[in-house]
């Protein structure tokens, strides 16, 4: 009955049948299929998909553009790419830590906004010197994000509120409160956004002249690298990591083992929120220097795709965030160069997400085939 699938089965088995390879082959498959789907759509619109994808690389500073304005070059584009990558890495770490504890933090965007806004008004508008202001921005960002995260964890523990619903509600609440304050007190009448933060507090050094280029250097990227190492260590080498994973795998077994489930969840959400906060400050007080009212950063949602694609592993997200950032960052240039709507970027990311959600099924199916042989 299944004979006609024999060849396809064989191909799939030979590529992703191997257990060790599965962890990265399945995400690679999801990406490939999504890119093909995207290419078909672009071709259907009468544009050259290869050119469009090349434009994505160009826009991200990974391939040279045909011409550059003064002081600009591939290196400046790449620096700008790193500016976008930094918050993405933090946001993905945030999603991972929550996922390991069995929680789905889709409130990363709200936590980012809360942290970014607080750091903006407390430090961004102050006259503190850079040496004091920058560390303070980081600390405030982490603390503010952690507070929101802890609240979500507490709601879950104390009142059994589904964290997906509570984080979404908090997203809207934070969005409207911040919008109210910006429009009432901090609005820049020209841009209709919040007033720009001072250079002292900003986590990105702007217009640094290196050689013949002027570029924006994100200091947060170093912090993000450290964050990845810390998260990997936390999950693999510490008792807290052991507890988080136990709670994430089986609440009842963890409880039976003497682990305080509520405390562990609140802690995990605090860490998750903290990393979201860092994503917020590197985004709003780094990559950008102001906040647009009533808008949440897409980073928080993209980070879910990054985390799922990266197999919720701190190392995996380095690769997946790179890819997703290329797609989202390069889309503006692609739009101007080949005329494809930039929104196709998030559509492709959405399709990637869809396929990676099927990953568990692919693994299950492949294992079954292997058993049958």
């Amino acid at each position: 009955m299944k004979k006609k699938n024999g060849l396809i089965q064989k191909i799939i088995l030979s590529t992703i049948g191997h257990e060790k390879r599965q962890t990265y082959m399945i995400p690679v498959f999801s990406i490939l299929i999504s890119l093909i789907v995207g290419a078909v759509v672009i071709a259907f619109l009468g544009k050259n998909p290869f050119l469009a994808y090349y434009n994505l690389l160009q826009g991200s500073g990974l391939a040279p553009k045909a011409s550059y304005a003064g002081y600009k070059g591939i290196i400046t584009d790449f620096a700008s790419f790193l500016n976008a990558l930094t918050p993405m890495l933090f946001a993905a770490l945030s999603v991972i830590i929550a996922l390991k504890a069995g929680l789905f933090n889709i409130g990363v965007s709200g936590q980012m906004l809360a942290a970014g806004f607080t750091a903006t008004i407390l430090i961004g508008y102050s006259v503190l010197p850079a040496a004091v202001a920058k560390p303070l921005v980081v600390v405030i960002g982490f603390v503010m994000g952690a507070l929101v995260g802890a609240l979500v964890g507490y709601f879950k523990h104390k009142f059994n509120i589904n964290e997906v619903v509570s984080t979404i509600m908090l997203n809207y609440i934070i969005q409207y409160i911040v919008s109210f304050f910006i429009n009432t007190f901090y609005v820049d009448p020209v841009s209709r956004q919040s007033k720009t933060v001072g250079a002292a507090g900003r986590l990105t050094l702007t217009d640094v002249v290196i050689g013949s280029y002027k570029m924006d250097i994100p200091l947060g990227i170093l912090l993000a690298a450290a964050g990845i190492v810390v998260t990997a260590f936390l999950l693999k080498k510490t008792t807290l990591g052991f507890e988080i994973k136990a709670v994430g795998s089986s609440v009842r077994a963890a409880e039976y083992a003497g682990i305080r489930v509520g405390r562990t969840r609140v802690l995990a959400m605090m860490l998750s929120g903290g990393f979201a906060g860092l994503a917020g400050v590197t985004y709003y007080v780094g990559y950008f220097a102001s906040i647009q009212p009533r808008v949440l950063a897409g980073t928080g949602y993209d980070a879910i795709a990054v985390a799922l694609l990266g197999n919720s592993s701190p190392v995996g997200i380095v690769f997946s965030s790179f890819l997703i950032t290329v797609i989202s960052k390069g889309s503006t240039y692609m739009s101007s160069a080949s005329g494809v709507q930039p929104e196709i970027a998030s559509a492709i990311t959405g399709v990637v997400l869809l396929f990676s959600a099927c990953g568990a099924f692919v693994k299950y199916k492949v294992d079954r085939w292997k058993e049958e042989r």
Binding site: K237, T239, G241, S249, A253, Y256, A257, G258, I259
Partner: protein, 510 residues
């Protein structure tokens, strides 16, 4: 045409890794009670699942009433007038008895000539009549979660009768019943035979077969060993054939030497979310070197009692005293450290983190202590060394040793891992809740020996058991629980199985 209503010829069924049925052939006559005897895992349930259309045999044929058939689904089996009472009841807990019985063949009434709705009044009436006819009286309007197991089983039987089943399969029907309820059920089964029904009884309890069955097929490790005429065979022979070797029915056990008082439970009461008493005012004491068995029918509060002692459930009144210290307000972790080991009823969801490796599971209760970790940093080397020692000493078998994900291990080895972990904690109090459930006789004997060894090593053992045999074999002291209340506490030697059974029914209550 033959005079057999069911013929299953040369049936073979394989699952990944095992052959569940290996060339099994049985023939059942119309109107007889045919027993399938075998240990857990012998392939009885698999064979009947194929007759009921849940699996398809890999090889062999099934002939019903002289016609070769391919039974594709349970509903197809129902069309062939085959019904089955599963070991785990398949009932919708928030539906009434009537709704459960009629599901799939609901009587309907029409509004305005074309809008159909379920006619629940008619259903209630039909079920009342049906239940009276077969002596299985139930109130059709009661909700399933409000009635006890024995009534739930009646509902399952009525479900078959409502579908006019002629061939009735019972999968381990007595496992959850008290001795008196078992008597009642066996009478019902005999009555059904009188009405011309054909009955297949899956069991591993010899006395039941002796009491009701006409013929008996014995399965061992997927193979058919023999088909016997029950009246002409004694139970000892059947038992030896079932296990494939000589079995002893009793556990070797020295006279107990009671030491100091280890656990004292005083007036313990546990309520559920709806403030309903699950455990009522329970008091007892366990000494070092004593096996204290709580006997009772499933669902009478014994699991909640064990959970409350271990700290998994909060109690609303009373005290738990361990080694003279009141641990009533201790967290689970503190109780573990104070000297409680706990082998829980549900090894999949509670006893193990199924997606963790074996070594992580073996260290699940001491990962936070020296030498497994220090200053919050875990030492993987210690986990591995400890895991290897336990795997060796307790003979835990798995495909990849320490790194095996426990989900992929067999039930018996999972239980070995839990018991190894809990014994190694060296606690003064060992709580076992149904430690042998679902295991085969070899594994059961092994666990019984370990329980006795723990007692002899001076531990206090609290054992919760539903099996009367296990209770009588292991107990030094028996406490019988019914409806959350302790009915009787006595030296095991002073009670007969019959008396224990009566207390389990709440009959001895004055």
């Amino acid at each position: 045409m033959s005079d057999y209503i069911i013929e299953m010829n040369h049936i073979t069924k394989r699952f990944p890794g095992i052959v569940a049925n290996d060339d099994v052939s049985i023939k059942v006559k119309k109107g007889e009670i045919y027993a399938l005897l075998g240990e857990n895992g012998a392939g009885k349930s698999t064979l009947m699942s194929m007759l009921f259309g849940m699996y398809e045999p890999d090889e062999g044929e099934i002939i019903i009433r002289g016609q070769k058939v391919k039974i594709l689904s349970p509903s197809h089996a129902t069309e062939l007038n085959i019904g089955m009472v599963h070991q785990h009841f398949k009932l919708v807990s928030n539906y009434t008895i009537a709704e459960n019985i009629i599901m799939g063949m609901e009587p309907v009434k029409k509004h305005l000539g074309f809008i159909k709705s379920v006619d629940i009044k008619k259903a209630n009436q039909e079920i009342l009549e049906l239940s009276r006819k077969f002596g299985l009286e139930v109130d059709p309007t009661k909700v399933i979660e409000d009635v006890n197991v024995s009534i739930q089983q009646r509902v399952e039987i009525l479900k078959m009768l409502y579908r006019e089943a002629e061939i009735l399969i019972f999968d381990e029907p007595t496992a959850v019943l008290t001795p008196q309820e078992i008597e009642f059920l066996l009478e019902i089964i005999k009555g059904l035979r009188k009405d011309g029904k054909t009955i297949i009884l899956i069991t591993h309890k010899l006395e039941e077969i002796k009491k009701v069955a006409d013929r008996c097929a014995i399965l061992c490790r997927g193979k058919l060993i023999a088909v016997l005429d029950v009246a002409a065979t004694d139970t000892k022979t059947m038992a030896n054939m079932m296990v494939g070797r000589e079995v002893s029915f009793t556990v070797d056990k020295k006279e107990p030497k009671f030491g100091r008082e280890i656990l004292k439970v005083e007036n313990l009461t546990v309520k559920n979310e709806d403030k309903f008493d699950l455990v009522k005012d329970v008091s007892f004491t366990i000494h070092a070197g004593e096996i204290f068995v709580i006997a009772g029918v499933s669902g009478n509060g014994q699991v909640e009692l064990a959970d409350a002692v271990a700290g998994l459930l909060k109690h609303s009144a009373g005290r738990v005293i361990l080694n003279g210290a009141d641990i009533s307000n201790y967290t689970i972790r503190r109780r573990n450290l104070a000297g409680i080991s706990y082998i829980p009823e549900d090894r999949h969801n509670v006893g193990l983190v199924m997606d963790f490796s074996l070594s992580d599971n073996l260290a699940l209760k001491n990962y936070f202590e020296e030498p497994f970790s220090g200053k919050g940093i875990v030492r993987e080397g210690e986990f591995a060394a400890y895991g290897e020692r336990l795997i060796r000493e307790y003979d835990i078998r798995s495909s990849q040793g320490n790194n095996t994900i426990v989900r992929s291990m067999s039930g018996g080895n999972q239980q070995k891992a839990i018991i190894a972990r809990e014994i190694e904690l060296g606690s003064d109090l060992m709580i076992f809740v149904q430690p042998t459930r679902g295991l085969d006789i070899g594994a059961i004997e092994n666990i019984h020996r370990q329980i006795v060894a723990q007692r002899d090593a001076g531990k206090a053992v609290l054992l919760i058991s539903l099996e009367l045999d296990e209770v009588m074999n292991l107990a030094d002291t028996i406490g019988v629980i019914y409806n959350g209340e302790i009915q009787k506490i006595a030296d095991a030697k002073t009670l007969t199985p019959g008396q224990v059974g009566e207390f389990m029914m709440g009959v001895g209550h004055k």
